[in-house]
């Protein structure tokens, strides 16, 4: 058994491999040299999906069964000509139900019923009555987070920046806004219930109604599927940040706070991951082995991952191109011996 980490960067993807001790890493790559690798996922059958983008040549979705032979999907997510929208990149892939989902910029959600070979727009969200009042955040107008309910595939959540969270209870036909309790960042005169800047979403693996929400203005939790949200910031020295992950074995949460939306760097140059073992009630900083002086790199929303082993491995990729790994649930960290291009995404897979 081994562990594979796929690091997506501004200039391609890199494969980091180790045994389950996760102490020594072999590095291979780049795959898709020269392309942004915006997100990576693997479905239950073991098929890998890599989303690429280029400021010059546009975006695409690629699949492989073996990580060696890749094929570009010809009927990937695409806006129709009459929408006058541009599909700039795929931000996220959710492959956990029989219908796969892709969240994209310019914001929208697409679904695939055939393992990713063809994709159709989820019209109920993409043409939502509030659509004309959707405004972009600093990272663009992007649908970057999709949650599904394993017990009820008709329930779907989608996070869009800087609009907020939407939920469908009917398989994507209709969507309701779920922003109650979340501060507004962009006010729209007509629609007071949007204009929220969600940064990241994860759900409790056993209870889809419990969702943790990284937000522009704080760290929040819902226990009722998004009907109401409460702040959970006890122990945090900053409520701003992007990525959030949850270990499905221990249900431990990990986040990486940054200093305010103005600065977006580690506070005082101390690079720390924060951990919560009680569902976000309290947070503790982790710094053993992480740079604690003159460290001013950021971590983007898809650049934090966990491997769900016991103890859980935690993986961080930074905008400075460094990769930091913990093989003991965050108690201690080592830096992998590489300096990669700016890291956009990190995903991890346990291989038999």
């Amino acid at each position: 058994m081994g562990v594979l980490v796929i690091v997506g960067t501004d200039k391609g993807a890199f494969l980091l491999r180790s045994d389950t001790a996760r102490a020594h890493w072999k590095i291979q790559g780049p795959l898709f040299k020269g392309w942004k690798v915006t997100t990576v996922a693997r479905d239950d059958s073991g098929r890998y999906f890599v989303a690429t983008a280029s400021d010059v040549y546009g975006q695409a979705l690629h699949v492989s069964e073996d990580l060696d032979n890749w094929r570009q999907i010809e009927n990937g997510p695409a806006w129709a000509k009459d929408t006058e929208r541009k599909l700039n990149q795929i931000w996220t892939l959710n492959l956990q139900t029989s219908r796969f989902y892709a969240g994209v910029d310019e914001a929208g959600l697409f679904g695939s019923e055939d393992r990713g070979e063809s994709w159709s727009p989820i019209e109920g969200l993409n043409e939502h009555p509030t659509r004309d009042s959707w405004y972009p955040g600093a990272g663009g107008l992007c649908a970057h987070a999709v949650l599904t309910d394993a017990k009820n595939p008709k329930r779907i959540w989608c996070g869009i920046s800087a609009v907020g969270v939407f939920r469908s209870d009917d398989g994507g036909l209709t969507w309701e806004i779920k922003n109650q309790g979340i501060p507004m960042v962009i006010e729209d005169k007509q629609h007071q219930d949007i204009g929220r800047c969600v940064h990241g979403l994860v759900a409790d693996p056993d209870d889809a109604n419990t969702i943790y929400r990284r937000e522009h203005n704080g760290m929040f939790r819902t226990r009722d599927g998004g009907e109401t949200w409460q702040r959970i910031e006890n122990g945090l020295d900053s409520s701003f940040g992007f990525p959030i992950v949850i270990d499905r074995t221990s249900k431990t949460l990990y986040i990486i706070p940054l200093e305010s939306d103005e600065y977006r760097i580690p506070i005082d140059g101390r690079f720390r991951v924060y951990r919560s073992g009680n569902g976000g009630d309290t947070w503790d900083p982790l710094s053993n082995g992480l740079p604690q002086e003159n460290a001013y790199m950021g971590v983007l929303r898809d650049a934090l991952a966990v491997d769900h082993l016991d103890p859980c491995g935690v993986y961080v990729g930074t905008t400075a191109g460094t990769v930091h790994v913990s093989n003991d649930a965050g108690d201690s960290w080592t830096q992998v011996s590489c300096i990669l291009p700016r890291i956009l995404s990190v995903s991890v897979y346990v291989q038999e």
Partner: protein, 92 residues
């Protein structure tokens, strides 16, 4: 139809797992680009945007002529012509 060569940048050649120099038979510049995408559908999304036009930062030369300055992309081709796809400097 005259045979011409479409020269791709390496970053696109890798996508289709083929040589960067692709022989194409076509009567016109537009016909050559359509034939290229017919043969390699994966290139379509990388060369053309949602409006069907060449992407903003993609340059296309017919021999030494930037095709942006042509009145029509249906300019006739002659045997041995070269169509070169490049990344525009405006792309960064």
């Amino acid at each position: 139809m005259p045979q011409v060569t479409v020269q791709l940048p390496s970053i696109l050649g890798r996508i289709i797992d083929e040589s960067q120099a692709i022989p194409i038979e076509a009567d016109s510049l537009g016909g050559a680009l359509r034939a290229l995408v017919d043969r390699h559908p994966a290139l379509g999304v990388h060369l053309f945007d949602e409006t069907g036009n060449l992407r903003q930062h993609v340059l296309c030369f017919h021999n030494q002529t930037n095709t942006r300055w042509l009145d029509s992309i249906e300019a006739p081709l002659a045997k041995g012509d070269t169509i070169t796809i490049l990344q525009a400097v405006s792309g960064g």
